[in-house]
Symmetry: C2
Subunit: 463 residues, 2 copies
C-alpha cells in the first residue's frame, strides 16, 4: 500500500512470469508440458493437443542485435521482482521500500487543484484544447525559463517540455544516433547506458569488467570526491553527467563543473547534464550547468518535476537545448531535437502541464520547497543511523540519496541481507555500474514513520 | 481560439524564426549583421562586438546523418506554419481548421470528473501514488483487454498502455532497429516513414519519385479500392498498415485483412496495425487485426483514446504485442518491447490513465460513442458538400476523414487555394506520400457551426 511506494512494476519485470507462464495462448509453455508429459508417461502424449516445439510459427524478422546485448532486466523492475519474491516467501513481511527512489508524499494541493481545474475545463467548450505544441505550452516554457534560468541566457524557445527526464534521455539518444560515443559517470543512473546499448552505440557486455564495450566509464569514488579524473578520460561525443548524482548523491562544485565544461570544449563533446535533483542542493554548488560560462555551447540539460512535486506518476519534465549548441557541421542541435520531438512525441499531458505551471507559482514554489525539505529531514535520519553504526556514508547533503559503503562486500548480497533481515528494500550499488560495487543506495523518499522504523531495524541489524 | 483547433505548433515549426532570429545569444545572427554593416558602411564594423563567423564554436559531434535525410518539417507543423503566415497577411481572417485532425469537442464529464478526482486524490496520503508500472495500470490493461479484445485471445499482459500511438510508433522503431526494412501504405500517416528515416532504415530521399530509398510504398488508390496489390509488394520485415486509413479514410474489409495476414505470414513479416480510428467503423469491417485468425503470430496493434474521447492533449493510447509474436530466433517480441518501454518510458500520466478507465465504463463508452457519432455527422456534411460540387470523394464512411480528389492538380496548390480563398485549412494529400498527390484530406473534427460555415465557403469557392 502507500507505505511501500513501490508502484506496480512487480507484475512487469522482464523476467516475470507474464511471458513464460503456461496459458492457452503460449505455445512455448505447451511445448514444455508436452515434453514433461512425455518423460513421465509416454502414453499421455496423445492427450497433448498443442503442436510440437518446432512447428511454432516464427516470423523471419531478426531480433535487433542491440537488444540482445542488454543484461538482465532494467535495474528497478529487477529490484521489484526480488521484492515480490521476498513477499511471496514472507507474506506478512512489513516491507519498507527505500529502493527505487519513488516519491511518497502527497502532491501539495495548490498543484493538484490546478490539475483538477484543467481536467474539468476540458469538458467545456471554452476550456477544451486538443493537440498542444509538441515542445510544451508557451506559458510553461516561459515559466521554466524565468524560474530556473533567469540571467543565464536561456530563452523560452530553448526549453522542451517532456513527460520526464528518462523519456527525454532516450529521445536524445535517438537524436545522436548509433554512431555517437558516450561517457558516463561510474556509478550512474542506468538509463544512460541502457539507452546507449539499445541505440547500438556500444559493444558487447564484458562480464569480467562488468562494462559494455565502447562506453567510457568515468570512475567516481570517495577517493576522487566522486568527480572523475578527467586526465584519464577518453574523448567521446556525448558525456552524460548527473549532478547531484544518482546514486552517489554527490553534487559537483562550481570549480569541478568549470573543469568539465572546459574538458567538453577542448574535446568538442556535448554534455547531457541531468539536473533532476538540483532543488536538493544545500550548498553553493551550481543548480544548472548553464551557470558555468560557455556551457551553452557544449551542454544540454534535462530536468524534472518528479522529485520536487511528487510528479513521478504525473510525468512532467523538461530539456534545455540552447540554440548556441552546434554539431560539427554548424547545424543547431536544437533544430534536430525539435524534429525528433515533433515526430516521436505529442507533448506532455495538458493536465500535467497545468500542474507544472502551478508548481512555478509563488505558492507552488513554496510548496515544492517544503516537500524537498521534508525529504531532506529524512536524509538526515538515515545518515545519522548509518554513521552511528560506524559506516562511511556519502551523498545526502545535496541529494535525497545516501550512499553507504560496505567495503569488500557484494552489493547484491548486502541488498539481500537488508531485505531478508530488516524487510527494507535498498538499491545495490553495482546496479549503477561496476564503480558502485560495495555500496548500497538508500533513498530518503518515504513517510516519516517508515524512515524511523527502517532506521530502527537497520540499527538492530548492524548493531 | 476554440474555433481553430490548431493547438500551438505555429510557434514551433522547425523552420520557424525561433532558431534564426537575431538575439543576444545568436552568434550566427550577429555575423549576418556584421556583414550587412560591412557592406553598408565599413567604418561601422568596429561597433560590432560579436566575433566573426568562423570563430563560432562548433562541437566535434557529427550530426546524425539520418536526421539530415529528413525532408522539410514534419507535415503538421509545416501546415501550422503556413496557416500562421496566412494569418500574418490577413490578421482578420476567420480561419476554420479542418487540417491537422485535431479534436474540438469537449471531453464528456464522466471522464473529466474521473481525472479531476484522481488529481485531487494525489494530494492525500491514501490516494497518492508515485511511479506506476511502465506498461500501465493493471486495471486499465484489464479493461482494455476486456472491452476491445474479448474472445480474441488477447490478455491483459499483452497490452502496453502508452502516451499515444505516435509515441509508440517511434518506440516500436527503436525496438526493430536500424536494420529492419519497412513497407507503408501510400498515402499514409507520415510518422511511419519519418521514424523509419530517423532510425536509419532508409536510403536518401529521391526527389524525382518523392520516396525514400529502401522503403516499400504500397500504392492505395481509388482504382484498387485503397487496398494494395500485394502481388507487386516486395517482402519487408515490417508492414505499417493503418485501417481505417489516415488519410484516405478507407477501412480494409475482413477479406482484405485476411489477405494481408496471409501475405505477412508467407513472408515472415510483422504487421504494425494502426487502429486509431476503429470506433469510426460503420460497416462490418474488422475493428482489430486480431479478428483475423492467425494474426497474433504476425501482428502488433496500436490504438488511442485521442479520437474517441478527445484525448489528443491528454495523451493516452495502447499497443498490443501478443506473446505469440516471435522474432526469427524464437525470442518473443513482447519481451523486447517490454524492455524498451521500461528503459525509455515511465508510463502514461496516472491522471490520464484514470480518464482512460472512465472511458471504458458503461457511461464512458456511451459518451465516446456519442462523440464519435457527432464527428460522423460532420463527415456527412462535408461529403454532401463536395459531392454536390461534383467532386469524387472517398473515405468518410468509416473514418473522420474525407479524401477529396482534385485530378491533375498539385495538392499544395489546392491547399493554398482553399486557405487563401476560403480561409479553411485542409491537409495536402501529397504530405502523406506521393500516392496522395491530387487529393486533399478534409478532417471532420470541428464545431458544427464551423463545419457548416466551411461548407458554405467551399460551395462559394467551387460553385
Amino acid at each position: 500500500m502507500a507505505t511501500t511506494g513501490a508502484g506496480a512494476p512487480a507484475i512487469t519485470a522482464p523476467s516475470s512470469s507474464t511471458f513464460t507462464a503456461s496459458s492457452p495462448f503460449s505455445l512455448k509453455a505447451s511445448r514444455t508440458s508436452h515434453r514433461q508429459s512425455a518423460r513421465r508417461v509416454s502414453v499421455n502424449v496423445r492427450c497433448v493437443s498443442s503442436p510440437p516445439a518446432d512447428t511454432s510459427y516464427k516470423t523471419k524478422v531478426p531480433r535487433n542485435a542491440n537488444m540482445a546485448k542488454l543484461q538482465a532486466g532494467y535495474l528497478f523492475p529487477e529490484i521489484a521482482r526480488r521484492r515480490a519474491a521476498h513477499l511471496l516467501k514472507h507474506p506478512d513481511a512489513k516491507i519498507i521500500s527505500l529502493g527505487i527512489g519513488d516519491t511518497t508524499e502527497p502532491i501539495p494541493d495548490v498543484i493538484t487543484n490546478a490539475m483538477a481545474e484543467r481536467a474539468h475545463a476540458l469538458s467545456t467548450i471554452d476550456g477544451y484544447s486538443g493537440y498542444g505544441a509538441e515542445q510544451g505550452e508557451k506559458k510553461l516554457r516561459s515559466a521554466i525559463a524565468a524560474t530556473y534560468y533567469a540571467d543565464l541566457g536561456i530563452e523560452d524557445a530553448d526549453i522542451f517540455v517532456s513527460d520526464g527526464a528518462k523519456c527525454d534521455i532516450s529521445r536524445l539518444q535517438v537524436l545522436f544516433g548509433s554512431k555517437a560515443t558516450i561517457a558516463v559517470q561510474d556509478p550512474s543512473y542506468p538509463a544512460y547506458v541502457d539507452s546507449s546499448v539499445i541505440m547500438g552505440q556500444t559493444g558487447l557486455y564484458q562480464q569480467d569488467v562488468q562494462k559494455y564495450g565502447n562506453i567510457e566509464y568515468m570512475r567516481c569514488t570517495p577517493e576522487n570526491g566522486f568527480f572523475p579524473d578527467l586526465s584519464t578520460v577518453a574523448r567521446t561525443d556525448i558525456i552524460f553527467f548527473c549532478s547531484p548524482n544518482n546514486p552517489t548523491g554527490a553534487a559537483a562544485s562550481r570549480d569541478q563543473l568549470t573543469k568539465l565544461v572546459k574538458f567538453a570544449k577542448d574535446n568538442g563533446s556535448i554534455i547531457v547534464y541531468d539536473s533532476a535533483y538540483a532543488m536538493y542542493i544545500s550548498d553553493d554548488s551550481p543548480k544548472s550547468i548553464f551557470e558555468i560560462p560557455g556551457a551553452k555551447e557544449v551542454a544540454i540539460e534535462t530536468a524534472s518535476f518528479s522529485k520536487y512535486a511528487g510528479f513521478t506518476g504525473v510525468r512532467l519534465g523538461w530539456t534545455v537545448v540552447p540554440k548556441e549548441l552546434l554539431f560539427s557541421d554548424g547545424h543547431p542541435v536544437a533544430k534536430d531535437f525539435n524534429r525528433i520531438v515533433c515526430t516521436s512525441f505529442n507533448g506532455a499531458s495538458n493536465i500535467a502541464q497545468a500542474g507544472g505551471l502551478a508548481c512555478l507559482s509563488p505558492e507552488g514554489l513554496k510548496a515544492m520547497h517544503d516537500v524537498v525539505g521534508f525529504y531532506k529531514e529524512n536524509t538526515k535520519i538515515i545518515v545519522d543511523t548509518f554513521t552511528s553504526l560506524g559506516f562511511n556514508v556519502y551523498g545526502a547533503k545535496n541529494a535525497p540519496y545516501v550512499w553507504v559503503h560496505f567495503p569488500g562486500r557484494n552489493s547484491w548480497d548486502v541488498f539481500a541481507e537488508i531485505l531478508e533481515k530488516a524487510n527494507v528494500v535498498t538499491t545495490p550499488g553495482s546496479g549503477f555500474g561496476p564503480g558502485g560495487e560495495g555500496f548500497v543506495r538508500v533513498s530518503a523518499f518515504g513517510h516519516r514513520d517508515n524512515i524511523i522504523e527502517a532506521a530502527r531495524r537497520l540499527k538492530q541489524l548492524y548493531k
